[in-house]
Amino acid sequence: MLSRDEVEVVLFTLGVAALSTILIFPLGLGAALALSRYRGPGKGLIETLLSLPLILPPTAVGLLLLEAFSLRSPLGSWLAARGIEIVFTWKAVVLATGVMSFPLLVRSARTAFEEVDPQLVGLARTLGCGPAAAFFRVTLPLAGRGVLAGTVLAFARALGEFGATVMVAGNIPGRTRTLALAIFHDNQVGRDDRAAVLAGVTAALAFVALWTTEALTRRLRRRAEA
């Protein structure tokens, strides 16, 4: 049903989505926690900037990334001098999907953290927890559902990411071609039937991810209410 190349595309896409989600997870939780606690000036500005990738055209974000990491840029040449090439490699796919899904994780997690009663965190401190222990023993478990939902949303977004990826990683078969890119490519070359199959695979993957989350969330809620 799926050709060998197509199976590779599916596995590559899953791998990239998983890796980018794993990489943005600690960063996203850190940002979400900082935003949920921060009360100083510029809060609105920082939040808006972090959410910008949600509303910008993905190709615009891709263009920015391309400019930032290309060999002509200071960052790109600095990395290249250390043997790290980003643009038009699989790393660029991870970068693009990570950047695009990051705000989804941060928004969900931030809301979840804001709903945790700060008094409970203070109580955990008086009960012998340092700030880190209080986070892992109280804040994170209580925000668990929101964090989980944000993580799955980020993963699903990464599965389907197209615009930023195509700008910064290109559409190189066997190197940077993800499911979304393969669907576009198949359609462009007149293989609409293959495009439809891959679209079906993408939908199935997203469905499984979301459905698993729903089930997990229901179990967490039941446990919290039991």
């Binding site: 409970l120 203070g122 109580l123 401190r125 008086t126 009960l127 012998g128 209580l142 668990g144 919290a224």
Partner: protein
Amino acid sequence: MIEVRVEVPLGAADLRVEAGLPPAVTAVMGPSGAGKTSLLQAIAGLRRARGRITCGDAVFLDTERGVDVAPEQRRVGYVPQDAGLFPHLTALGNVRFGARGDQAQVETAIDTLDLRPLLDRRPATLSGGEKQRVALARALATSPRILLLDEPLAALDVELKERVLPYLMRIRDELRVPMLYVTHNVGEALALAGHVLLLRERRVEAQGRPLDLLSSPGLSVEAAAGIENLLPGRVVAHDAIGGVSRVELKGGIPLSVPLAAARPVGAPVMVAIRAEDVLVSSGPVKGLSARNVYEARVEALERTGADVTLRCALPAAPAPWLARVTPAAVEALALKAGQPVWLAVKSHSIRLL
């Protein structure tokens, strides 16, 4: 000894407290917004403060020497008004939370607060009084240097209060953990505390022994109004059929009160009687429904507002009882100092604190 000399930044006006508190129970009282909760938070290390806080040998805060111990190292047991249980843990999980594996301490806390039947329950399924007991056990299981209780009974109705209060007395008497106890309730303060710290508008208005403080003139303890007679005693027996409990006041004075089966026999109680609920008779009382009649002698008459307050000495009682009557009654009974009177109190006008 707990020494507190702090300034706590708090909105418009700083909270300023200087107090030396005995290593027993101190009631922190005062109107809302006086800074009671902020004081507890500063002692717990949850609110920034300047100055010096010590608890026994432990220095929590000494700004001059650059000491500001983190909350997790102060070993204070903090219990907020709503108990603040962790909703994702069972009662047992909550009690164990801060105990660092000290199983003996956990067991003691569980037994002190009679939590055995509740251990598997989630906070959402516990009643208000049960939540408070779990929160107290959780705090106790950390072997705290001091307990900081922020109106732990305020959210409970009268009946639940009466069930939780004896546990607090047990913690005070058996475990001897010092406490700072925020309350609006004079009865609770008197029942538990040997010392009162009265805050008003973010300053210490007064501190001292509760009865001295509450009866001192000019002191505005709104809540104190109306409870003039506060008599320490002990539950002697319950008579379920008769609908009364018997209490013996200091000096061996017997008293019938409405059935309070939740108070174990032998438990210390504080009895509250409003001065206007004490009936005064110039002759022996017979055939009256009031259960409690005592022979006494008028020591003094004092004009209080539109009424007259009589200070009446009971032969066995350590302190005089106060009775409030109208000037017309004083005239009708020809009441004067030194005169023998009979005082009667209906069981139902007596409250146990």
